[in-house]
Symmetry: C2
């Protein structure tokens, strides 16, 4: 080796060594802080700075409290320790940005109190989790603590003396990181959002302490042989996937997302999981740029944030597929963080949309840059487009199709679910769909039966009605055969299967289509669904055409539910209300009251009112089919369920039924003028005029005599429309 090479290597070594000892260098960096100090802050950043200062100054004035851990979520010690980590992280940022020592002193004192307490701390006394924490009842919350506190520690690293660092690290932070990893291998080595927090926590603390061995553990996991396979967690999900061969942060990245960035549990959980992914990645990017973490797996982390932001309605609320509390949106801190980091890592203008709506940024150099760009930006607004996200590691385990059309300020959005099960939080709704008119749920998903963090309702945890109602097939918009949920509602079976996309075709903006197939939900039943989002000037808004076919070997009973959850206004069938009776004793039917019944003619048509708008369903039926107007709420001894209304179209003892439905979003009502506009639908009837292996043809007839023949190619989703 030539001398020049030695010198070169030496230089690299020295610069790495120097770099390793530069602090802060995780989320905040020395150069970033210097840049912020040298320029005028953008207005939004200044506002965040002021708000954070008020929050932390108040915490400082209240004094430091590090109580012995005792309570579960919502209880005093839990909330106190939670506030502690938020305040430490904020104080770290304030110390770096303002240079005021009181913020560093606050963190130092707090850490020393934790250091004094930790060595004598047993596992949390509640003993209620599959992975009991130290400061909190579950390791997940301890990991949260460490993700935030690692940033505070990095921020005051140079403020601490060597002796102080040694004491805090050796007596507290390193043993604590070991507890979360070596001490809880089932937790640490799992591929799951809880464990992503664990990996990020240990990894970020490793970076803050410049502990490379610990970092390797965070990135690549513990040796897998150490733990039992296939144990289950609190939510009933497997702790290991049978085929799992890797663990640690890279394994999380590999296994958590499809190649399109889709997260198997759905956006509600992804939103929570994205924070540790993105902050740890940001820290790695600053401190270990050679890992090129944001380029890893074809920039999967950036794609994942885009996927998250695209799974939203007009208000920025996530589609409530699988276990999801409705109303969760792009506005919480976790998504603000994801957007801040993703924007700074990619400089992709598409993220500015979300950042502008969020109206806030992180208190770090990335947040500063983002605020600057927003302040000065005349960048265009991005309108969410139709998009398909494949599911599964290789993108071959089904997917989620999102069709969008109409007024960009009030899009018609159809979410078609042909994914895999979605792990322990998945629902049994293969080929189910949701429909939105802007932010109004035209056809809803019930979401989860849970009040997150609200103690009165089962301590804020999942309620038993989540399993008995919310997860069941009848709580969704898809076919129920013989009044049983898909896969019999058995997680272990459902987890083996996924639906398959057949086509996702948005070539024709006036007739965008998605088709998917499910072969395993019911043995002997092949289910296919084709959705067409159809725009025609004849209609005020895009119209959804929904074709569902089941090919069966035997005769069965079929229920097609329509979760309209609104106020019935008119209908073409004579119904008779009756005293409510429960509709069954399992698979969700035990929670349904039958309120009225009717017999169908050759079409069922119902007009309803919701959020001051009028909608109409027109669906093909055979004379004598049953119509049931049902309502959620039976067998609900603690009033845990909403009293939402649905219509069930029932066919009994039939082979290979076909359902063809059209949903119009046609009218509005103003409470100011009290004038309805177009309260009635334009459609008179629908029928299937032809079906063979290649195509299926529908006829839609309007009340004014207009008539459309709509032919859909079953393989490509290509549509031919003839207006007669």
């Amino acid at each position: 080796m030539k001398l020049i090479n030695y010198i070169f290597l030496l230089l690299i070594f020295l610069s790495n060594a120097a770099c390793a000892q530069t602090h802060p260098n995780m989320i905040l960096t020395k150069s970033g802080v210097d840049k912020v100090a040298a320029h005028k802050n953008p207005v939004m950043f200044d506002r965040v700075l002021d708000e954070t200062r008020i929050q932390v100054d108040l915490a400082i004035s209240e004094g430091i409290m590090v109580p012995i851990p005792k309570d579960m979520g919502g209880g005093y010690t839990h909330e106190k320790h939670k506030n502690n980590y938020f305040n430490m992280q904020s104080a770290g940022a304030l110390y770096q940005i303002t240079g005021e020592e009181k913020y560093a002193a606050y963190i130092k004192e707090m850490l020393l109190e934790y250091t004094a307490m930790y060595p004598n701390l047993p596992p949390h006394p509640t003993n209620r989790s599959y992975a009991v924490g130290k400061i909190f009842w579950q390791c997940l919350n301890d990991a949260n603590w460490m993700v935030y506190t690692s940033q505070a520690y990095d921020a005051i690293y140079n403020y601490l003396s060597v002796a102080e660092r040694k004491k805090i690290e050796n007596e507290f932070l390193k043993p604590y990181a070991n507890y979360l990893s070596i001490g809880n291998p089932k937790y640490f080595n799992r591929v799951h959002n809880h464990s992503t927090w664990g990996n990020a926590a240990v990894g970020m603390m490793a970076l803050a302490m410049d502990d490379d061995k610990l970092l390797q553990r965070a990135l690549y996991g513990l040796d897998l042989k150490d733990v039992d396979e296939l144990a289950k967690d609190n939510d009933g999900g497997f702790i290991y996937d049978k085929d799992q061969a890797k663990a640690g942060f890279f394994a999380q990245i590999d296994y958590s997302f499809s190649p399109d960035g889709y997260y198997g549990e759905g956006p509600y959980y992804q939103r929570y999981a994205m924070l540790p992914f993105m902050v740890f990645a940001q820290a790695l990017n600053n401190k270990k740029p050679e890992l090129k973490i944001f380029e890893y797996r074809d920039s999967i982390l950036i794609k994942a944030v885009k996927s998250l932001l695209n799974q939203t309605n007009q208000s920025g609320e996530f589609f409530p597929i699988n276990d999801a509390q409705k109303g969760m949106s792009i506005y919480p801190n976790s998504v603000v963080t994801a957007v801040n980091v993703a924007y700074n890592a990619s400089l992709d203008e598409e993220f500015l949309n979300a950042a502008r709506r969020q109206g806030t940024v992180l208190l770090d150099q990335g947040g500063w840059e983002l605020a600057k760009v927003i302040e000065s930006s005349s960048a265009r607004t991005f309108v969410n487009k139709s998009m398909q996200f494949t599911d599964g590691y290789n993108g071959d385990e089904g997917g989620l199709g999102i069709l969008r059309a109409g007024d960009p300020e009030n899009q018609s959005t159809v979410v078609f679910k042909y994914t895999s099960q979605g792990l322990g939080h998945g629902h049994y709704d293969k080929l189910g769909y949701l429909m939105y008119d802007g932010s109004t749920e035209v056809m809803q998903d019930y979401g989860a039966a849970r009040w997150v963090n609200i103690d009165q309702k089962g301590g804020g945890r999942y309620l038993k009605e989540n399993n008995t109602w919310a997860k069941q097939t009848i709580a969704h918009n898809t076919l129920v055969v013989d009044q049983k949920s898909h896969f019999g509602g058995e997680y272990d079976i459902a987890n083996l299967h996924h639906s398959d996309p057949v086509f996702f075709n948005t070539n024709n903006p006036d007739a965008q289509t998605a088709g998917a197939r499910e072969l395993n939900a019911y043995p002997g039943v092949e289910m296919n669904r084709i959705l067409v989002l159809w725009e025609d000037d004849y209609f005020a808004n895009p119209v959804l055409i929904d074709y569902f076919s089941a090919d069966t070997k035997e005769s069965h009973d079929y229920d097609m539910p329509y979760q309209f959850a609104g106020q019935i206004m008119s209908q073409n069938f004579d119904y008779k209300t009756e005293m409510p009776t429960t509709m069954g004793d399992g698979h969700g039917y035990q929670h349904l009251y039958k309120e009225a019944t009717a017999k169908a003619g050759d079409n069922i048509q119902m007009n309803w009112f919701k959020d001051s708008k009028f909608y109409t369903l027109t669906t093909l039926s055979e004379v004598g089919d049953d119509i049931i107007l049902a309502r959620v709420g039976a067998n609900d001894p603690e009033f845990n369920l909403r009293r939402d209304a649905l219509l069930i179209h029932r066919k009994e003892n039939a082979k290979s039924p076909r359902f063809l439905s059209v949903i119009e979003n046609h009218g509005t009502y103003s409470r100011v003028t009290e004038r309805p506009v177009d309260p009635y639908s334009k459609i008179a009837s629908v029928k299937i005029t032809n079906e063979n292996n290649q195509v299926v043809t529908f006829n839609i007839r309007a009340k004014d005599g207009n008539s459309w023949s709509i032919e859909v190619n079953k393989s490509s989703g290509e549509v031919k429309i003839i207006n007669k």
Copy 2:
């Protein structure tokens, strides 16, 4: 008589004659138009001008259509004639303000078409009203037509030739005005909002045509002897009050409002009625200033608009007492008109509040002045204050007490109803109350069972459930004795009585009180209610204390309903849900499902969730009292009713019961952070510690041991509070 006097009289005659021939001089005036023309328009006015121009230009481009009357409300001919009068009125304003002749030509051509049609027009073919119209199915709508069209006619009066005016007036407008007055004496001579429209219509057309004889008829009515007394209208209300001695516009002003400007049917109907009151008054003020119409009856019209604006929640929505569609607010054109006219007539800055929120003005000189003031104004914002409105012509027929406290941006508001019946639209809820937290209904009034103008629901008219549920006592928040509505739900009896205020005492801003008495709702039962809106730093928001006593001769059964209409979160009683059964067969009980029952201890406490906020009711009970968790929706064969939840506290076979309740508004929940704040109440229990003829004393005990003794003087409402 001296010569000078003759000359003086001649001058008056000449100036009057000259004045009588000046046009426009009703809503728009010549001098007003000149002023607008001479100055730059305020931005808001320009926007209204542009919007109106777009609307009328479109109408002009579509051509004039004056179809033969045929349809009811919602039908083609009805809506067309309605649009015609709106467009003519707008075109008149545009002609005056812009000077563009096309607008005058449009009105002229339209009027000539009506003139050609009118002579051969029979009464409207539907024959569905007690007062059948010509162009519309009821005179009310014809009167609407004339109120708007009179303004258009005034605007183009000078544009028309004498011959044209003669033709239009003699062949159309005068016969039409005669039809609405002489032709329909029961309609024209009534004291009722419908007839206010009739009087204003005829009066405004009289002013436009300078027809003083017709004007006198509008102001003072027809001779009363001509008509049958006590006939009933479509809504079941009397057409004449037995004691009515006057008719015409002045009688409307005299009889429609209490001296405080309270309108007996409530704000929902007042909002509709105010338009003809205010526009006719405006026209009279311009053209007959000697009548001093805005000073009449101690400026009652100005007071009436203030009363209307004060009967609103934080969103500007009217309290839905009596028959009212919820959501009606200060934003419709009728209230914009009332505010514009009232501001210009009084220059009272309090009206600027409403005008600012409405964000729009009328297209006339009054609207111009108002827009100018708003644009330049730094006037302070008025916060709605506690206020009592007496009811009845002399202010001695009960009243409505409104208590307000707390955050001006999110006031706690309690509406206490001890009025008279409220005519045909009154509900049977003596001593009932509503409670708001900002715009959230903490204790709701169901409102009317009606979808106004929505054809699917009974043609938009009152539904039968309005009588069988919405009007009944159990649909409100007041005592039901023996499961019968007040006055047995008999309008003729209820109409004879009113409740009486005992005190309305807001001297102490920390404990504002209202007390009222009802002696006639149930023979042998004297009912008293005292409401205290209590502010104490111990509680996050004002707390409502509600004391209801019934002094009875005999034993009865009592139901005290709490219309919380939210999601039960927790409670201090063990309830058992059951299959829904109906609770009775009349007086509204036939519409209630019993969903769960429980037995009370010495306090009933229930915590619920609504609009992401937490509330708690704590009410005194005797051990063994019944608790019923009920829901609206039984015997509802057309799904006309909302599925709202209520709690009923039932005492059986008892004499002189006392109810003491406290309602706390204590907590919030964010769907962004998913963190609840103060989800639980602070109160442990309430009791009555002393009661005699002078005072009643309550004890409120908090969970932390705090305790308050609250003594209320039964005559004055004075409160003494001791915190122990």
